[in-house]
Each structure stands twice: as C-alpha cells, then as structure tokens.
Assembly symmetry: C2
Homo-oligomer: 262 residues x 2
C-alpha cells in the first residue's frame, strides 16, 4: 500500500499542530476525524449543551458533522451537509465552530485535550443495494398499510385458503375485503391466475365485496389486460421501499427502547 | 498532554498489524476507528450490499457499529449496541463481522485496504442538556398537537387578543375552542390569571364553548386550586420533550429532502 497523501495522522498533538491540520483538512474539504476531550454547545431550532467528556468528531467533505460519545449508535450532536467551519486555537484549547444558514444553526466543539487528528481523502463511488425478500414485502405492508392504500387495515398475512396461502389479507376503508398477492419481481400472467384462484376460493365462502390486488415492482407485458378482464387490480410496490420501511421500523423500535430505558 | 495508553494509531498498516490492533481493541472493548477501502454485506430484517469504496468504520465499547461514507450525516450501515465481533485476516483483506442475536442481524465489513486503525479508551460522563425556549415550546405543539391531546387541531399561535398574545389557539376533537398558555418553568398564580384574562376577552366575542389550558413543566404550590376555581386546566409539558420534537422534525424534513433529491 502506498498512497501517502491519502491520510495524515497526528497522535497526541500540541494544540498548535492540531489547529494547523484541522484548518488544512477543512479548507481542502477532506474528511476530518478528531478524538479528544471536548464540550459542545448547540444553538438552533432548540439548544443544547454537552459537558466535558471524551468523544469523536467527524466532519465530512460535504460539511456534515457528527459528534459521537463512546457508547450508542446515535450521534449526540450532528449537522447535515452545508455547514461552514471556523477553527480557532487558544492557549489551552482548540475550537471548531460549524455555522449553518438555513435554518440558522451553530455548533461549537471546544477541545480541552486532543488525542488524535486525522485528515483523509476518501473516494467512494460504491453503490448501496438494499434488498427485501417477498416475506419482507409482506411484513412491510403490515407495518405500513399505506403502501397499499390509505385506510387499509390488514387482518393477517399468509392466510390459508384452499389453493395455498394468501400473502396479505385485510379490509379497505369502505369495508371491502382485500386479498393481496405480492411478487418481488415483475408480475406475469401466472401471478394474475394465482390471485384469481384465491379470489374464487374466498368468493365461495364469503358473501362480501372482494378486491384482488397484485402488488409487484411492475407488470409484465400484456398482463394489465388480463388483470382488468378478471376484475383485479395492480399497485406498484418496490422491494427497496419495503426494505427501508423495515429498517426504519427496527430503528423506531430501538429508539422507543432507548427512550423507555433512560 | 501525556496519557499514552489513551490511544494507539497505525497509519497505513500491513493487514497483519491492522488485524492485531483490531482484535485487541475489540477484546478490550475500546473504541475502534478504521479508515479504509471496504465493502459491506448486511443480512437481517432486510439485506444490503455496499460495493467497494473508502469509508470510516467506528465500533464503540458497547458494541454499536457505524459505517460512514465520505458524505452525508447518516451512516450507510449501522448496528445498535450488543453485537459480537469476529476479526479474520486473509492475505489481501481483513474482515470484521458483527453478529446480533435479537433480531438476528449480521454485518460483514471486508477491508481491501487499511489507511488507519485507531484504538481509543474514551471516558465520557458529561451530561447532555437539551433546552427549548418558550417559543420553541409553542412550535413543538404546532408540530405535534398530541403534546396537548389527541385530536387537537391548532389554528394559529401568538394570536392577538385584547390583553396581549395567546400562545397557542385551536380546536379540540369535540369542536371546543382551546386557548393554551405556555410556561417554560413552573407556572405560578400569575400565569393562571394571565390565561384567565385571555379567556374572558375571548368569551366576550365568541359564543362558543371554551377551554383554557396552562401548559408548563409543573404547577407551583397552591396553583392547582386557583386553576380549578377559575375553570381552567393544567397539562404538563417539558421543554426537553419540546426540544426533541423540534430536533426530530428538522431531521425528518431533511430526510424527506434527501429522499426527494435522490
């Protein structure tokens, strides 16, 4: 490995040396990592004060900012992209100030000790691919029924009916029964016929208005006509969107946990 | 500054050296920071793949994990506390695997290049104090009317009536007008009398049922009785809670922005 320009690191620097590398890193829009003992003042929509403690500060090339304590996955202070930075050094501290205009926000990180300063040139064009299985897509609809439509109330999923299992089953805002068949990829004629068999099986038993809905990222060629002929509906559902719903639900569950356990 | 045990840093280490420090840092529950070129595989509620790119990995003492790209304040991959870690070194890569049991989740970070490894012993008992001004508290009620009660619909805030300005003004779920007076600190008799003056002024004009509500962190001594006598209500409202609502609202606004601008 070469790339000596890739990274500069100072371990236990003086305030003067820390100041120089911080200034340079921010001016050159590098990624800046600082570990040290600091306090943080925030004034913006609300305001906060974080008393002295040992933390990690990350400032990215786009001006986003994170302050991380030694525990917890959430940053204690953060700013989205677009801040402007000012570094000032005094005899016994270095201060980094991040100012954002819209909304007006101001974060001051005052280091009373600096353990490490690192300036990195990072290059990242790697794609992020989020996947959801068909079962994940069912769960996402249960968690967020608006993925189908406003007012939809799922009753169960994977309900057994004669020809097999219904993916998602519920009631719409007008009280009509809804049977949803989910496909992870472009739905073909087979999916329509499968849904139609479920609908027929339920119609035999339930004396109630019934909607059959195919949910998939897209419909195959000529499938729309078959769908309409059979009195069924299509509603687009993207696996990626479902994966995000699940990830967000997990996140919220954890946030509640953290709030309740405080 | 001394504290040489506080921090170990390797700049452009060999895979073998990187491996040793990573293992040691995780075994000793230090804060681990790794900068390098990596790919990330996640399997859990959903699944994701992040292709090769240069990033920062942070693993904290409690087992929480963050992978940060060079832009954006949100981590691309993250795990809450409680993961168990395994480090393995091959000839041309180092792999860190994080396994969580409940829910079952698995993150693999495979480094094809390591620019820096740092192991830190961080000590942070500093308190985090979140503040909201009285105006912040008004805004929080507008953003999240359930802070007052379910079904409340604010109409405006800082409505002018004869004796001054009403803090928050709206309609409850039964159609009754609601006048809310907000105090940042324990509310005393003066706050009750102020609210009462507003109520009287509105009663002269509006021929409609009216509720007067005092919202504050707490009620002063003997104030409850005065409140009841005057036919007014009290509902607790914590400035910290309001600050969190505002911070969260800002966060969501940004998330929407990011999603729409993708």
């Amino acid at each position: 490995m070469q790339q000596t320009n890739k990274i500069a690191v100072l371990r236990m620097p003086t305030f003067a040396d820390a100041f120089i590398l911080m200034e340079k890193a921010l001016a050159q829009r590098k990624t800046l990592i600082v570990a040290g003992k600091c306090r943080v003042d925030y004034v913006g929509r609300a305001s906060s004060k974080l008393e002295l403690g040992e933390r990690i500060l990350i400032i990215k090339a786009d001006g986003s900012l994170l302050v991380h304590r030694p525990v917890g996955y959430e940053p204690v202070n953060w700013q989205p992209a677009g801040s402007v930075f000012h570094v000032t050094a005094a005899e016994n501290e270095v201060e980094i100030r991040a100012v954002r205009q819209k909304p007006r926000e101001n974060v001051k990180i005052i280091f009373a000790e600096v353990f490490m300063v690192s300036a990195l040139s990072l290059d990242d064009a790697g794609e992020f691919l989020l996947h959801a299985s068909e079962e994940d897509m069912h769960k996402a609809i249960l968690i967020k029924p608006e993925l189908f439509e406003e007012g939809f109330e799922p009753i169960s999923y994977e309900k057994k009916v004669e020809p097999g299992f219904i993916d998602v089953y519920g009631v719409d805002k007008n009280g009509k029964l809804v049977v949803i068949e989910v496909k992870r990829k472009t739905a073909g004629k087979e999916a329509v016929l499968q849904l139609s068999r479920y609908i027929d099986a339920i119609k035999e038993k339930a004396n109630r208005e019934l909607r059959g809905v195919l949910m998939a990222p897209s419909l195959g060629k000529d499938v729309q006509r078959l769908l309409v002929t059979m009195g069924l509906e299509f509603k687009a559902l993207d696996p990626k969107q479902c994966a995000e719903v699940l990830k967000k639900a997990e996140n919220m569950r954890l946030e509640h946990f953290f709030q309740e356990s405080q």
